[in-house]
Structures are given as structure tokens and as C-alpha cells.
Amino acid sequence: MKVITIAGTPSSGKTSVLLHTLNLFKAEGIKTAAVKFDALATQDHDLYQRRLGIPAIRGLSDYVCPDHYYVSNLEEVLAWGHEQGAALLVIETAGLCFRCAPHINGVPAVTVIDNLSGLGAPEKMGPALKLADVVAITKGDLVSQAEKEVFLHRVRQVNQTARAFHCNGLTGNGVLALKRMIDQWPEVPSLTGLKLRYSMPASVCSYCTGEIRVGRNFQTGNVVKIHVANQN
């Protein structure tokens, strides 16, 4: 079974890009399955089922860090994918804080970012963009050609080696490029023992364990303070 991880900024079109891409596989009679990880709510798994009729599940992290929850459940979703008899399993994560990235060494990693997110967005996005193998840039139909080219250049400055391409999440125009890449990718037999491309944040402070009050007196454990002085 082939496996890909997909990350991206909120509302950048991760699900739309995947829906169009998986539809191309469906047309070839290739079985696919989708997992959506999110924090509190998502109906995206429902979209995969209704639009494509493919098996899809969701994992909601609720009170746990969504990225930690994601990595803690990778073996489970891989086993689920196998049970579905899928030839391709896509693991879509929520567009969250971008301190870390869901991407794993040895598993093709796709990151979606949109042209409307601003020229500073690629730099701010951190490891999710820097460590991706493929960058899908969406919403190019809404901005000038010049801005598309400048935005791509900014993406390049953050990640020189990824394959980047433009695509339209509404019409699906451009996703053929991703489909062609997936065709070339190898299967991922197991995830056990593979390593994340970027470590997850150290946490475990009082807020991690349910503290909700603001103030020094309530902060214990791993607490880091801002340096307000001498920043300029």
C-alpha cells in the first residue's frame, strides 16, 4: 500500500486537492482510503465517503496535542488502511500551529499552501513546508500571474528541493501533476520505527494537564518566558 501524509494551512484546500486527486485514481479503478486527523471537529471524512464513496475515518485529538495524537495513532490507521484493501492511503492532518510537521522519513510528504496566504506565509510555515517532498500551491486562479510567480519563489526560498506545482482546489485543474508523482512513489510496507522529519514540541506544563487559570502562580513544569526587553 502507498501512503502519503498531507499537511497545510487552514482552508488552503488540502481536502479539495485530495478529493480531486483520489478521483483520478478512482477513475483507474485503484482503491484508496483516507484518514483525517483534526483537533475538535471535522466532517471531511464524510466528504471522502460521499463524494468518492471510499472508506474514510477521522481522528479527533480533543484535549491532547493534535500532532502528538497523530503520531501516536499512525500504526493503527495503517492497519485500518490494509483492512480496507486500499492501494493508496492518504493521511490528512489539520491545518494547525506549524510548530512541527506530520511528515515522516520514507513516506512521501505533501504540503498545501495557498496564494492568498500572503508573501510572508512560506517563511512562517516552518518544517511542514521546509521538509515536504511536494508543495501544492492553490488559489492561483484568484491572483495575478506575477504574484503566483513571486509566491512560488518564496516557497523555493524555504524549500529548494520539493517539487512545487499550482493547482485549483475547486476545479481540480493541476492535480494531475500530483497523481503522476504518486504513480511513481513506492509502497510503504510499515510505519513502525520510521522517524518524524522534525521533532514535536516539548510540553508538559500545568496547562498541558488541564490548568486554565492565567498567572505565574498557576504555571508549573516546563514554562518558558518571553524576553520583552532588548528585542529591538
Partner: protein, 267 residues
């Protein structure tokens, strides 16, 4: 991380002497009447046909470098260009459509500079050339210090066209309709043609259709035939342009709060 071969990366797509689309199937699965379609660099081709006739699909086949793997089954062949399909970068097509707008918060000058910079172009001359060209296209002059966000519809479109002609590196130009708003369409086409790229214009505007020396007729998803603009049609074009100018004058007068005179100036 996955191994990525450096030869797969082709961010700079070179100039193309011509593009050729080999026929596939129409919407009902029949072979297309026109076996192939070629557009040379510096030439423009209008794509005509009613809504749903397959114009967008045709443009998309070019954008996606179709290789018998799109719904139409067409194949794109490029002469004097890259031998393989570039997996990377902004693609081979610069697209100008009515939906696009500037979203950047920047002055015209800063914007042109950063675009020229990321395309490794000599900045001073190219920024001037681009602004000059844009100003030839629209009535209201664009100034370097103006914010992109306050440009009028016509000014934005003029700047986008000039930018595609002078700064953009994409070797093919697709125009998805140019609106009437204060743009000299003939000059726009000639500025783009001078940039020596194949140009495709999908349009419902008879003036734009006749401005291109050739037009492709689309029907039910298939390429039907190519018609060359005849001398008679070029005469009709002159007449249509006068009518268009007449309409524009009336629009400008009414917009400016003036009234129209009873007597019609001769067409």
C-alpha cells in the same frame, strides 16, 4: 526523506518555438475532427465556442501538459523546448483571467521590483519597460508610487498584461477573456505577441476573436476546425472596433455624469 533527482527539477522553463496539441476525444468519446492544433511563438489563436464547448478543458490540457492522461486524451508536444514535462515550478502557462486580481499590499514599483528580482531580470530597465507598456494600454496613467490596491480594473489588467509580456518566464500565454474596462485590446495582443510566446485567447468577444489571425472552433468538447480571419472579416473588425469605441465613449460620458446628445456621431 525521499530521494529526488535533480533532473526532475526544472524551475526555469525555456522559450518554446511552438506548441502542438494532438487530438483526443470529444465529450461523447468520438475522435476530434481536427487532428492537431499548433500555435507558433509570437502568434495568437482565438478559442471560440459556446459555454460548455470545451474551451476551459483545452486550456487545462495545455497547462497540465496533457500526455494522453487527461479526460480528453489529448497530447501536448512542444518544439524547441524542454524534452520532458517539467514536474516543478509554476508550469508552462501564464494565465490572465477576469477573476484574477492583485492581493499584495505593495506599491506598483516595489511589486515590479520583487517580481523582476525573483526572475533574475535586470531590474531598472525592466520595471520601466513594464510600466511604459502598461501605460500604453490604459487611458489613466499608472504611477510607480501607487498602491496596487487602488488601481482601477483597467489599470490592474494593463499592468498584469505588461508584466506577463516583460517579466513572467512562463513560455505560453493563456488569456481567459479581457474585459472592456479601459484597455486597448489590440495593443495588448501586440505587446504580448512581441514577447515571442504562443498566445491563446479564450473569449466570447467578437473583436478579440477577429483580432487573432486564426481561431479554433470548439464544439461539444472537440476541436472542430481552424478558421483564418479573412480580409472581409478584417474589414468587419474595423467596423466592430468603431462600434466598440462608440459604446465606450457613451459609457464614459454617462459614468462621468454627462448626458448623451441626441445626434449620433457617424459610425
Amino acid at each position: 526523506m525521499l530521494q529526488i533527482k535533480t533532473e526532475d527539477l526544472a524551475p526555469e522553463v525555456p522559450r518554446m518555438a511552438s506548441i502542438t496539441l494532438l487530438a483526443g476525444r470529444d465529450k461523447s468519446g468520438r475522435g476530434e475532427p481536427l487532428p492537431q492544433l499548433s500555435v507558433e511563438a509570437g502568434q495568437s489563436l482565438a478559442v471560440v465556442g459556446p459555454t460548455g464547448s470545451g474551451k476551459s478543458e483545452l486550456l487545462s490540457d495545455i497547462e497540465q501538459w496533457a500526455d494522453r492522461d487527461t479526460v480528453t486524451g489529448r497530447r501536448l508536444v512542444v518544439s524547441d523546448g524542454p524534452t520532458g514535462r517539467p514536474h516543478d515550478g509554476g508550469g508552462i502557462v501564464a494565465r490572465l483571467s477576469q477573476k484574477t486580481s492583485f492581493v499584495m499590499d505593495s506599491s506598483v514599483e516595489h511589486f515590479l521590483h520583487i517580481h523582476a528580482e525573483c526572475r533574475n531580470r535586470g531590474q531598472e530597465t525592466i520595471v520601466e519597460q513594464t510600466l511604459d507598456a502598461a501605460n500604453q494600454l490604459c487611458g489613466e496613467p499608472i504611477r510607480l508610487g501607487t498602491s496596487l490596491q487602488v488601481l482601477s480594473g483597467g489599470q490592474s489588467r494593463a499592468l498584469m498584461i505588461a508584466d506577463i509580456a516583460f517579466i513572467s518566464d512562463a513560455p505560453v500565454v493563456l488569456i481567459d477573456e479581457i474585459e472592456n474596462a479601459g484597455i486597448d485590446k489590440l495593443k495588448a495582443l501586440s505587446i504580448l505577441s512581441a514577447s515571442d510566446k504562443p498566445i491563446l485567447v479564450a473569449t466570447h468577444d467578437p473583436i478579440l476573436m477577429l483580432m487573432a489571425p486564426r481561431r479554433l472552433v470548439m464544439r461539444e468538447g472537440g476541436m472542430q476546425r481552424v478558421i483564418e480571419t479573412s480580409p472581409e472579416e478584417r474589414e468587419r473588425l474595423a467596423e466592430l472596433r468603431r462600434m466598440d469605441a462608440h459604446l465606450c465613449r457613451a459609457r464614459d460620458l454617462i459614468r462621468a455624469g454627462d448626458t448623451l446628445q441626441e445626434r449620433e456621431p457617424a459610425l
